[in-house]
Symmetry: none
Subunit: 229 residues, 4 copies
C-alpha cells in the first residue's frame, strides 16, 4: 500500500521524454531536500547534508535554487502536488456516500502514514506562518477541487436522506484531516502525557477506526427536523 518515495514524487509526472538532465537533477535535489527537511525541520536542516544526499556538490544546489528558502518552497510544492495527485486518484463519484466518506478518510490518513515527511514539512511551514507557501502559485486553492467533490458526496448523501443537513464542507474536511494528522504528528508527546505507547503496533489502525466512526456518526445523525428546515 505504501509506494516507494523515489517514484512517488509528484514532480516526475512531468514529461521526461528528452533526457533533460537538468530536470532530473532538480528532482534529485528536491528529493534529497525533502528527506533532510523532513528529518530535521527547516531550521534543523543543513544545506551541506542535502548536498551529500544528492551526491553532488553544494554549489549545484545554488545553481538550481537560489537559497535554502527557495528550495524549501520547491519541496513544499512538490509534496503538495504529490498529495493532490494521490487525491485525484480517488474518484469519489464511484462510491455510495457513506463508502465514499470511508474511502476519503482512509485515503487521506494513509497518505500521512506512508509519508511522514508531509507532517514535519507542513508543521515547519506553519511555524513560519506559511511564508514560503505564500510565495507559491501552484499550491494556492489546491484543495478546492477536492472539497468540491466532498461537497457533492455529502449532497448525494443528503438527497438520499442518510446524511444530516448543515454541513460546512471545509470544517468537515479539516476535521477529517486533523483527526489523523494530529495523532500522527503528536504521537511522541501524547505517548508521554497519556503514558500509552501510540507508536506501538496496531495504534494506527485503531485510530483510523475511531475517527471513521466519529465522522460517520456525525454525518449520519439525521434529525427529524432536518428535512423541514
Amino acid at each position: 500500500m505504501v509506494e516507494k518515495r523515489k517514484r512517488d514524487s509528484a514532480s516526475d509526472a512531468k514529461p521526461v521524454g528528452k533526457k533533460r538532465d537538468a530536470e532530473r537533477t532538480r528532482l534529485v535535489i528536491i528529493q534529497a531536500a525533502r528527506e533532510e527537511f523532513a528529518e530535521n525541520g527547516y531550521d534543523g536542516a543543513r544545506t551541506d547534508r542535502i548536498a551529500v544526499r544528492t551526491g553532488m556538490s553544494k554549489g549545484v544546489l545554488y545553481h538550481y535554487f537560489n537559497s535554502k528558502d527557495d528550495l524549501f518552497v520547491a519541496v513544499l510544492e512538490d509534496i503538495y502536488l504529490e498529495l493532490r495527485s494521490q487525491n485525484e486518484a480517488l474518484v469519489l463519484d464511484d462510491f455510495e456516500p457513506e463508502a465514499g466518506i470511508r474511502e476519503l478518510i482512509a485515503h487521506t490518513y494513509n497518505y500521512f502514514v506512508n509519508h511522514p515527511e508531509f507532517i514535519v514539512l507542513v508543521n515547519s511551514e506553519n511555524l513560519m506562518k506559511s511564508q514560503h507557501l505564500e510565495r507559491s502559485q501552484s499550491v494556492r486553492s489546491m484543495f478546492a477541487p477536492l472539497s468540491h467533490r466532498l461537497g457533492e458526496l455529502i449532497s448525494r448523501g443528503q438527497e438520499q436522506g442518510i446524511f444530516r443537513a448543515n454541513v460546512d464542507i471545509i470544517e468537515l474536511y479539516i476535521s477529517i484531516v486533523g483527526l489523523g494528522y494530529f495523532f500522527l504528528s503528536n504521537r511522541w508527546t501524547l505517548s508521554v502525557v497519556f503514558n500509552r505507547d501510540l507508536l506501538a503496533e496496531g495504534a494506527e489502525e485503531k485510530r483510523l477506526a475511531h475517527m471513521t466512526e466519529l465522522v460517520l456518526d456525525y454525518l449520519r445523525n439525521v434529525k427529524p427536523m432536518d428535512g423541514l428546515k
Copy 2:
C-alpha cells in the same frame, strides 16, 4: 478571556516573595525562553535573544540551566504544568454529561487559543520525537487524572442512556484535543490550500461550534443494540 502571560505561568503559583532573587530569575528566564521558543521553534530560538528578553546577560541562562536543551525541558514542563492546572480548575463532576463534554471541549480549545505558544512548543518537541519530555519526570502520565475524569463523565452519560457504549477514552480525548489543535496549528497552510482566511474574525468560534457538534453527535449516537450488549 485571554490572561496575560506573566501571571499565567504554572510556575508562579508558588509564593514568590522578594527574598529569593534566584527563584524569581528562574521564572523570568523560563518566561523569556517560552516566548522565544514559541516564536521560533527550538532550532530557530536563539539564546542571545532569550537573554535580551530577560534583560540580563547571557551567562545567567547557563547559571540556572546547563544548556539550551535543559532550558527547553524546563519550558515544556512549565507549560504542561500550566495546562494541567487549568484543567484541574474545571470540575467536570458539577456538570450534566453533555454539558460536561461541552465544557471540556471549550476549555481545552480556549487554552490553545489563549496560549498559542503551547502549540509551537509541542510541535517542536514532536519534531524532535519527544527527546526532551522523555527526560522529564513531572510530565509523564500528567494527563491520566483528566482522562480518568472524562471516563467518569462518559460513564454517567452511558448510565443515563444518553451516551453510546464502546468509547475509548483516550482516543476520544485525542480527538477532542486534535480537532482544535490541528486547526489552530495549521491555520496558515490551510488558509492557502483552501483559499479561505482561517485567521479571520469568527473563524475560531466557528471551529469550536463544529467540533463540539461533531463530538457530541458521536457520543449521543445511541444505537438500539447498545443497551443489549
Copy 3:
C-alpha cells in the same frame, strides 16, 4: 617515603600558634589551587573548580588573592618553598663526596616523583616565560644556598682526588635536576615515540640508577693532568 600533600606544604611551616583562621583559609586555597593548576596547567585551570575544591565560595578566592595570576604566584612560591625546605633537610656535610652526590640526586629525583605537581606547575610557568616568578621576592636566588653546598661537596671530592677538576656547579646541578625532571615530565610523549612504556613499574627506579651512574662517572673521571693544571 612519599609524604602526604596536605601536611607537606611549605606554607604551614609558619607559626599557627594562634588560631589564625585567615591563615588557614589561605593555605586551604593554595592547596586547592595547587591541585587544580597541577592537573590542568595555568590556562586549563578553572577558578570555579578551585573554589569547589576549597569547599568555599568563589568570592573567597578573590578576597584572599586578587586574581588567578596572583593565586598562581602564591602556589609557585609555596611549592618552591616546600622544595627548598626538603632540600635543607638534606645535610650534605654528613656524607662522603660520592655518597653525598648520590643522596642529592636521589633526593631531588624523589621529590619530583612524589610531587608530580611541581613539574606541571613549573612547565606552565616556563611556557609563560616566568612572568609570575619574576614578581616573587621569596623565590629569587632560592637555590643559591644549595648550589653553594653542592660546590663544597665537589671541592671536598676534588681535594680527596676522587673528583675531576673544572666543574661548573650550576651546569652540574641543572644536569642533576634535568636528567630526572625531563624523564618524568616527558614520559607520555617519550613512551609513544620510543614505543616503550615509561610509565610502567620499575621505569622510575631504572632511570634513577642510570642518571646516578652518568653523573658519578663524569665526576670520577680524574685525568692525569688534572692535578697539574
Copy 4:
C-alpha cells in the same frame, strides 16, 4: 644556522606546485597553528589568532581540520616528522664512535635551539598526557630507527674498546635529549632560582659543552672488568 620556518616544516618536503591550493592551504594552516600553539600552549592558543595568522577566515580551519584538537594533532605530527627528517640527515655511520656521539648530541640540541616551538608543543602535549599523540599513527615508534643507529654506534665503540659496556640505549638517548631539552625548556625559572641569566649570550654553547663532556665521560669510562664480563 637556524633555517626559516616556512622552508623547514617537514610537510613541505612534498612537491607543492600551484595546482592544488588545498594542499598549500593545509600547510599554511599548520604553520600558523604551530606558531600560535608554540607561543601560548594548547589551552592558551586561540583559533581566532590562528586564522589571522593564515590570513584567511576562521571557517577555513574547520574545513581542513575538524577541531582545535585535530589541528593540534596535525601540528605535532608535522613537527615530529620534521625532527625525524633532520635526524635522518645525520648519517652516524660516517663517524668514528666518539665523533658520532658528539654529532648526535650537537645535532639534537641544535634542533631544539633552532626550533623552540618543539619544546612548548611537546610540553603542552605531556601536560595532557599525550592524548593527541596517542591518536597519531605516524608518530608511534618514530624514534626506533634513530635509537637503533645510536645502538650501532655504541657497539662500534665497545668493539674498539673505547666505550663502556652495559649501556641502555634508550636511557642514554633520553639523557642526551633531556640534558639540553630541560635547560632550554626551563631557562626562565632556572634563571630566577639560580639568579644566573641563562638566556644570556653564550649560555647555550656553554650548556652544549657541558652536556657533551658529561655523556662522553660516561661512555668512555672503560672499567678493567668490562672486557672480562
